[in-house]
């Protein structure tokens, strides 16, 4: 499962990378969006400057013909050098009539829809010294004689220039245009008209900017505004006017911003072109900043064209490839071993084999096969315990090897001996059970019963012993109580363990002597210690009541065999 796990890790890393990329892309997109909005605002400023410039040109052209109006020119010529205010009053009326007639002609020439943009909010006719001879607008009731001579748009017009300007006059901001008035080939004065900044004008100039908010301001006070749908509100744009106005770049006639608005939009600020810039008259253009708040919003914002632009076939191939690799790993590391294991288990269940060969698998399946093997072993033992004694003995014999003809079943080889060897089957094919030498007196052979092979039991009748194994040596008669080493359960139960150990020890010494082996250094204490150790090991592995030991000869040497006594 190593590859599969690694594959899961790889997929997790890919998923994490994808999520990280999505989150990163939000920041990148938002930053690029902000930069894009900033670029748009810079273009807006350029466009708005151009719009205002062209609009100023239109205002200049609008008063072109009145600058050569004979009636107005004559009045202004007469007014020059007239100090009498009363006389100036009469001339003022004539000049005012001329200007009103001009405005009326302008209005007639325009469609109804645009008359609001044609009629000036203020107009002046000044003589060659700059004195106001006539005016229209909020101050037209004032007597003539006040001077506009120092206002640049008048001063330059009196010299013959056509000029626009934005001025603050009587605390109001006007977009002015002025022309010299010619009469008889001479400059006799100037005429100027102006328009206030109102929302209609703001809407008109903002129409060419799309989804932007345009606000004209005078100091910290908004003058007029136009707010497109979804664009920042005027209050937001005006809220940071103090910050914008304090910027030294603004004072030098440069753009300020884009500055961040409270609701997340951006705005640029600029002073107006004209003398009113000194009085902090300017404009702001603001745009909303479309931020992508989450990856979900990021996907929701994708258009059909965006989706179509994706390399979907390649993405599909990549998905299929990744899935195939994952499935391949799962197949090789899980499905196939499982299938093999299942087949092998079925063969075990069918009796075709006894155990699983754990080396056929690796990793978890090897552990699983081993566990199955252990379960099989346990099941066999349990079945042997639950089955009738004869049957049980047969099963144990089959699993553990031949046992002496006793209820004490051999299990454990001891000393220098290996596990007990299974006795060769007699010629009649019946299972031979090895008989320890110190077994109870051999039962006489039944008449007519087939004789065991000579090599198996040359002296003592009984089951054959394995080839190469000497027949059990009878225990010496005078030695301690000749209790049968493989007695009945009753005898085993009743025998004291120490006595049993003593008997086994004596038999072991005897057999060693018979086999020509030395008994020097052998003590009962060491012997007993070894028996106890072996007994404990056997009892840990098997649910037995006790353990019995028998002495036998293996390959010419004395050997011990341990067998659990079942409950």
């Amino acid at each position: 499962m190593l590859l599969t796990r690694f594959w899961y890790i790889i997929l997790a890393v890919i998923a994490a990378a994808g999520a990280s990329a999505a989150l990163l892309s939000l920041g990148v997109i938002n930053r690029q969006g902000a930069e894009h909005v900033g670029d748009e605002l810079r273009r807006d400023r350029t466009d708005l400057d151009a719009i205002l410039r062209l609009e100023a040109r239109a205002r200049l052209d609008r008063i072109a013909f009145i600058s050569v109006d004979n009636k107005l020119g004559g009045v202004l010529k007469q007014a020059a050098g007239v100090p009498d205010r009363q006389k100036l009053g009469g001339l003022s009326s004539e000049a005012k009539d001329a200007m009103n007639a001009h405005v009326a002609r302008l209005l007639e020439a325009q469609s109804d829809a645009s008359t609001g943009a044609i009629k000036p909010d203020i107009a002046f006719a000044v003589d060659i010294t700059g004195r106001i001879i006539a005016q229209l607008g909020p101050l037209e009731s004032n007597p003539p004689g006040s001077s506009l001579a120092t206002y640049p748009f008048i001063a330059r017009a009196l010299r013959g220039y056509v000029r626009d300007d934005v001025v603050v006059y009587d605390r109001r901001v006007y977009r002015m245009a002025s022309r010299p008035v010619l009469y008889g080939g001479e400059y006799v004065g100037a005429v100027a008209h102006g328009y206030r900044f109102d929302d209609k004008f703001a809407q008109r100039v903002a129409g060419g900017l799309g989804d932007a908010t345009v606000m004209f301001f005078y100091g910290r006070t908004p003058l007029a505004s136009s707010v497109a749908t979804g664009a920042p509100q005027v209050a937001e744009v005006a809220a940071i006017l103090p910050e914008a106005l304090s910027d030294k770049h603004l004072q030098q006639g440069e753009r300020v911003g884009p500055l961040s608005l409270q609701a997340g939009g951006r705005a640029v600020y600029s002073l107006i072109v004209g003398g009113a810039a000194e009085a902090e008259v300017g404009y702001a253009v603001a745009r909303a900043l479309p931020l992508v708040a989450s990856p979900l919003a990021f996907f929701q914002g994708a258009s059909r064209e965006d989706v179509q632009a994706l390399p979907l076939p390649w993405i599909g191939v990549a998905c299929v490839l990744l899935a195939m690799i994952g499935l391949m790993f799962v197949y090789f590391e899980r499905d196939r071993p499982y299938k093999v294991l299942r087949q092998k288990v079925l063969t075990v269940a069918a009796g075709e084999r006894e155990r699983l060969l754990v080396t056929e698998w690796r990793g978890a399946y090897r552990a699983l096969a081993d566990a199955i093997n252990q379960a099989l072993d346990k099941a066999v033992e349990r079945a042997a315990e639950l089955a009738p004694s004869s049957k049980k003995k047969a099963n144990l014999d089959e699993i553990l090897g031949p046992t002496p003809d006793s209820h004490v079943e051999p299990y454990f080889g001891f000393a220098d001996a290996g596990p007990p060897q299974q006795a060769k089957a007699p010629s009649n094919g019946s299972a031979a059970k090895p008989q320890p030498q110190a077994a109870a007196p051999a039962a006489p052979t039944a008449p007519g019963a087939p004789q065991p092979p000579k090599a198996a039991a040359p002296k003592v009748p009984g089951p054959a012993v394995p080839a190469g194994v000497k027949p059990p040596v009878p225990a010496p008669a005078p030695k301690p109580a000749p209790l049968p080493l493989q007695g009945t359960n009753d005898n085993a139960d009743s025998a004291d363990q120490a006595t049993h150990y003593r008997q086994v020890f004596q038999q072991y010494l005897s057999v060693r002597k018979d086999c020509g082996e030395s008994t020097d250094g052998l003590s009962f204490e060491k012997f007993e210690l070894t028996l106890n150790k072996t007994r404990d090991q056997v009892l840990q592995k098997h649910p037995a009541k006790d353990v019995r030991f028998t002495v036998y000869v293996k390959e010419g040497k004395a050997a011990l065999k341990a067998a659990p006594v079942k409950r």
């Binding site: 004032n142 640049p152 010299r159 220039y161 810039a277």
Partner: protein, 199 residues
């Protein structure tokens, strides 16, 4: 009596800090008039030196056409300056840093008086007419202030005999200084003074 005249040479206008207009074109019908220094509005001619001032009355100036007239004022310290608003609109003149000349609304026809105690130079601006700029010079030793006509001629009267320095100011700068000596026997007539200072 001291009499004289001033004339300017060709001058170039200083470049404004930002565009003052979108369009400034010749009208296409008649050639534009040559720019002239309005001497009565832009120039101030004074005599400085030891001695008492020739006159101690308050000096009158007015705001007309949105600008202080004259736009260059040179006064002796301790003089009271009276400014009348001759325009049809209100103004708020101030001179930053000059005590007693903070921004103050002045309605049409109103007069505002400022006693000049400090010596120095200040720019006078109007918060309601941004184009307006005037300059006030307060000197400790001004003896006489000439009245400059639009043609550039000027004259001093009631000047005590003695050695003086004739100074001409335009805007924030002193553009000319000439030592003169006034005698009691006859009027002093100066040759035309030419200045080339650009504004």
């Amino acid at each position: 009596m001291v009499l004289g005249s001033l004339r300017d040479s060709d001058q170039a206008a200083a470049k404004p800090p930002r565009a003052a207009c979108n369009w400034e074109l010749e009208n296409g019908v008649k050639e534009v008039a040559k720019a002239r220094v309005a001497a009565d509005r832009e120039l101030a001619v004074v005599l400085v030196g030891a001695g008492a001032p020739a006159a101690s009355e308050p000096v009158e100036a007015s705001v007309s056409g949105g600008e202080l007239l004259p736009a260059t004022l040179v006064l002796r310290s301790g003089t009271t300056l009276r400014i009348r608003n001759s325009d049809e609109i209100g103004h708020e003149l101030l001179a930053k840093g000059l005590d007693g000349f903070s921004a103050e609304a002045s309605s049409p026809g109103a007069v505002r008086a400022i006693n000049l105690k400090q010596v120095g130079h200040w720019e006078i601006i109007d918060r309601l007419a941004a184009h307006a700029r005037a300059h006030l010079h307060v000197l400790p030793d001004v003896v006489a202030v000439a009245k400059v006509e639009s043609g550039g001629s000027f004259g001093f009267s009631d000047v005590a005999p003695g050695k003086y320095t004739l100074k001409v100011f335009r805007g924030e700068r002193e553009i000319l200084a000439k030592p003169i000596e006034v005698t009691s026997d006859k009027a002093l007539s100066l040759d035309p003074l030419t200045f080339t200072e650009t504004k």
